[in-house]
């Protein structure tokens, strides 16, 4: 298009140039002609030549007159002769000589005339008057020369005519040329007009196209959903579309001409805007302009600020800089985003609260279970009739289920919180498998099921991994198989493939149970799903086991899969990678080395535990087993006692006031005292994982979760390093009384309430001022005891108190204490009544 335009322009300019040249040429030609015409020298010359004849005639006439009339003066004749002779010069010189051009005929004619001239002058110049003979001779001469003079005059006329003809022809030629040039000019002009016409036509078409596209653009801009604001380099708004009116609240005609700074840019951004404009106009790299989408804020006419998404581009419009801003009101989106974030935060908080609640609940539930299971175990050592035995068994079984649930819930929360840690160690696979099967064998035998363990020869070796978690999964899988199989057999098959470094272990548990419907296979791995049997729950409830197992398996980079056929049975397969490690006899050596205590009939045992009730239960159980028991309420007291007396075994609670179990163990091991090598068993009501590493590092030989069951206690005492495994029960104050005897319970209760009073008094007297941590510990202790003694209200209040103390929020402490005192007074009466009732 542009090249075409240029071609046309060049053609037009060349045409105009050509026209000018032709015009100049024509003008010069015509001017020359005109000058030739104005310099009409020939006419006069022709006349002068023709006059020669006249002058010679006059000479002849005057001579003839003298001959007849002698009065005619000599001078008269001489003058006429002079005049005639003077005319001859005309022929010889000037233009006439050019006209005649010395032609031969002219020479022939001029020769006699000149000879006449010479002879006539000779006669005339004689001294004295002119004689008659001279006169006659002069007449003869004159008459003789006259024909020649006439011929020459005629010749001049003729030559002039010829010359004039030539000039006319030349002039006519010139006219023809000029006309030709004029015609050429006309054609050229016509061509130029045609080109101009085309150009005009093209320009008109382009104008129309431009108009169309401009209108199209205008309607696009007007119809745009985004606000479009155009400003010049002074920041003045020069265009404002419909959407912009909508967004900013300004009308187009009232904002045009105003600066953006005074209208749509918020106060606090105006300086930045001015700086940015200056920077851009100075040619520096822009930050916002041409920088894509940016989120900023803008101002509505009503004065409210709102978030926008803006895209500013710059453009040159006829040499003037323009800024075009595409603005989108994102306030709604921002609000939605905020809502979403709030909702997410809320959900996260809720989820966290749930997890925390579960963790706290599990912990708080385990403490009372500790008491229940402890007394149940103690009870079994007393004399009971058959029915009592049955009741005790039921209570024990129920508590165990409860504990299992609690542990499961704790596991789930821990896994979900990412707190599950694998503690890897060398273990002997056949030994592990046998120990699991041995434990579960009795359950299977109860249901007349055969439980078979098969281990491939290649797998009879040591591995390195978290054997406890492996045990947990396998126990769950085999336990489930036993649970859901009514008759037939259960086969546990351990196989695997040895890779270069690691082996892929494969544990399959095949049962002949009811099987699982294909569409429910994946569901069984979900939390809290226990597949309902048509006849109801067949056996012990199991909500979380498989879900936990799979989660653990996956954490160990393995997985659990299931193959099942309804009515025929199921095969659960655990595959898990493990490093191969030779264990040989080192395991036994480790145990022998670490276990410095050889079981003997009567052991010296130190129970370090801050909770009075737990401590007492533990003491009773140990004493019931025939051992000697010393007590310490915290780490400091433990260290004190350990200085003077050598113990065979120390039970060490982890969380204690003043000094915790980890620190106490650490000090004991490094003290070099009598108990530096004494076996230490850690106890915690929290999950094992949180403290296991610290406990081992500090030098604890083993680590157990409370509650400690009598059986477990036996195991510990006999040196068998039992894995942490819970056992459940149920609890009421009555059962506690039945188990321990009303007197004992009453005395425990009395102690509890007096401790409570003591704490209240201490707080009242201001002793606890600025000791919120101590207060929290005290509240924690009483809370635990309250749980065991079934004082729910108190437990709740002390939980709160502990919480507030830990947060250092003691603003409403007096009010809180008053409530506690009130509740405690009533609770004490009720407690006494209830204990008394159990006696009857």
């Amino acid at each position: 298009m542009k090249a075409g335009m240029n071609r046309y322009r060049i053609a037009v300019l060349a045409g105009i140039g050509l026209l000018v040249l032709l015009l100049v040429n024509m003008t010069i030609g015509l001017l020359g002609q005109l000058r030739d015409l104005s310099i009409a020298e020939d006419d006069n010359l022709q006349w002068s030549i023709s006059q020669i004849d006249v002058e010679f005639a006059n000479l002849n006439a005057i001579i003839s007159k003298r001959l007849s009339d002698p009065t005619v003066a000599d001078d008269e004749i001489k003058l006429r002769l002079d005049i005639a002779i003077s005319r001859l010069g005309i022929l010889r010189f000037g233009r006439a000589s050019i006209l005649f051009a010395d032609g031969q005929s002219f020479q022939n004619l001029i020769a006699p005339i000149e000879s006449f001239s010479d002879q006539a002058i000779a006669i005339a110049d004689k001294i004295g008057p002119i004689s008659d003979s001279d006169l006659l001779q002069l007449r003869t001469l004159t008459e003789n020369v006259r024909p020649d003079v006439r011929k020459i005059a005629l010749m001049g006329v003729e030559l002039s005519a010829v010359r004039n003809d030539a000039q006319r022809i030349e002039f006519s030629r010139q006219l023809t040329r000029t006309g030709g040039i004029a015609i050429a000019l006309l054609f050229l002009m016509a061509a130029l007009m045609a080109i101009l016409d085309r150009l005009l036509d093209r320009a008109a078409k382009r104008d129309a196209a431009l108009l169309t596209s401009t209108q199209l653009l205008k309607s696009t801009v007007a119809a745009s959903l985004d606000a479009i604001v155009t400003a010049n380099d002074k920041g003045q708004i020069i265009e404002f579309n419909d959407a912009a009116e909508e967004v900013f609240g300004w009308r187009r005609n009232e904002i045009i001409g105003k600066t953006m700074e005074n209208t749509i840019i918020p106060q606090q951004m105006r300086d930045a805007h001015n700086l940015g404009m200056k920077r851009f106009l100075a040619g520096n790299a822009p930050r916002v302009v041409d920088g894509g989408r940016v989120e900023l804020s803008a101002l509505r006419k009503s004065g409210e600020e709102f978030p926008i998404e803006i895209n500013i581009t710059s453009a040159q419009d006829g040499g003037r800089l323009k800024f075009i801003a595409y603005v989108r009101d994102i306030s709604e989106r921002k609000i939605n985003e905020q809502n979403l974030i709030d909702a997410r935060d809320q959900a996260q908080r809720t989820d966290k609260a749930k997890s925390q609640f579960l963790a706290v609940m599990s912990h708080e539930m385990r403490t009372p279970l500790n008491g229940i299971l402890g007394v149940l175990d103690l009870m079994k050592t007393t004399k009971m009739d058959r029915q009592q035995m049955r009741y005790t068994d039921i209570a024990t079984a129920s508590s165990e289920i409860l504990l299992e649930h609690i542990n499961d819930a704790l596991d789930i929360t821990r896994i979900e919180a990412g707190a599950l840690q694998l503690s890897e160690q060398i273990f002997d696979l056949p030994e592990l498998a046998h120990s699991i099967v041995d434990v579960l064998e009795p359950l299977a035998s109860e249901k007349q099921l055969t439980l078979t363990l098969r281990i491939d020869e290649a797998m009879r070796r040591g591995f390195y991994g978290d054997s406890n978690r492996l045990r947990q999964i396998l126990t769950n899988l085999i336990g489930n198989a036993v649970k859901f199989t009514t008759h037939g057999s259960i086969i546990v098959h351990i196989s695997g493939i040895h890779g270069p470094d690691t082996s892929s272990l494969r544990f399959s548990v095949t049962d002949t149970g009811a099987g699982i419907q294909a569409d429910q296979v994946e569901q069984i791995f979900e939390d809290f799903v226990a597949l309902a049997q048509s006849e109801g729950r067949q056996s012990r409830g199991d909500g979380l086991g498989l879900s936990i197992s799979r989660k653990i398996a996956r954490q160990m980079k393995g997985d659990i899969s299931v193959l099942s056929e309804l009515g025929k049975g199921s095969t659960f397969t655990l595959t898990v990678p493990m490093q191969r490690k030779d264990c040989g006899s080192s395991l036994e050596d480790d145990i022998a080395e670490n276990t410095s205590v050889i079981p003997k009939d009567r052991l010296e045992v130190l129970v370090t535990e801050d909770n009075n009730i737990n401590r007492k239960v533990m003491r009773d159980m140990l004493q019931g087993l025939g051992h000697s028991v010393s007590e310490a309420v915290n780490g400091v007291e433990c260290l004190k006692q350990a200085q003077t007396k050598r113990f065979d075994l120390i039970f060490m609670d982890i969380s204690m006031p003043t000094m915790g179990g980890i620190e106490a163990t650490n000090r004991l091991r490094t003290s070099g005292g009598p108990n530096a090598k004494t076996r230490i068993a850690g106890l915690t009501a929290h999950g094992i994982d949180e403290f296991q590493a610290q406990a081992e590092y500090a030098g604890m030989n083993e680590f157990h979760t409370k509650p400690i069951r009598l059986e477990k206690l036996r195991e510990i005492l006999s040196g068998i390093n039992a894995h942490p495994s819970p056992a459940p029960h149920s609890d009421t104050l009555q059962e506690l009384c039945r188990a321990l005897g009303a007197d004992k319970v009453q005395s425990i209760g009395d102690e509890f309430f007096s401790e409570l009073d003591k704490l209240v008094k201490e707080v009242d007297s201001g002793h606890m001022q600025d000791r919120s941590e101590d207060l929290a510990e005290a509240a924690h202790k009483i809370k635990g005891a309250a749980a065991i003694l079934d004082q729910e209200d108190l437990e709740t209040h002390f939980t709160e108190l502990e919480q507030h103390a830990r947060n250092n929020d003691l603003s409403d402490l007096p009010k809180r204490l008053k409530t506690i005192v009130d509740i405690a007074r009533i609770a004490r009466v009720n407690f006494a009544t209830m204990v008394k009732n159990t006696r009857t």
Partner: protein, 164 residues
């Protein structure tokens, strides 16, 4: 090309050279007769001395009647008439052979035409366009190269007469 020369000095030269003229030129032949008004009452005869006494104009030019460029000197016709105090509309110039041509006073310029008394510094004889020749500086201006100027370039002039 046109020069005004001190008239006195030139007049002396001309008086000296006058004696060498041929016998064909009578004393009265060098006289220019000027007649004011048509009534024929006033008539002035000017001799060559009279003409030489006036302001002289001299220029070089070619003519269509001669070869090459020559110097012509004499008295401006307009100055001559002014000197004589002659007024009118048209002046008639007449040659020895009675050839006559009229020229309006309005067409007279200060320096052209002149009544040339000398060609190349020499007086002109009747045999050679003398005694006086009305000459324009043709080369100077195209306007002197037309039929009117040529026809007014009268030679062998010996009379001037105001006719209108």
């Amino acid at each position: 090309m046109i020069q005004k020369i001190c008239s006195r000095a030139l007049a002396m030269c001309l008086v000296l050279s006058f004696g060498s003229l041929g016998p064909a030129l009578g004393q009265d032949m060098m006289t220019l007769q000027v007649t004011a008004g048509s009534s024929n009452a006033v008539s002035t005869d000017l001799s060559i001395e009279n003409l030489d006494a006036l302001d002289q104009v001299e220029f070089e030019t070619s003519t269509i009647w001669t070869d090459g460029i020559s110097t012509y000197s004499g008295v401006s016709l307009k100055a001559l008439l002014n000197h004589l105090g002659i007024t009118g509309n048209t002046i008639q110039m007449v040659a020895l052979n009675d050839y006559a041509v009229a020229i309006p006073f309005a067409d007279l310029n200060d320096d052209a035409p002149i009544v040339a008394t000398r060609m190349d510094g020499k007086l002109m004889s009747v045999r050679d366009k003398g005694p006086y020749w009305v000459v324009y500086p043709y080369d100077l201006d195209l306007k002197y190269q037309n039929e009117t100027a040529y026809s007014r370039s009268i030679w062998q002039l010996n009379r001037l007469k105001v006719i209108d």
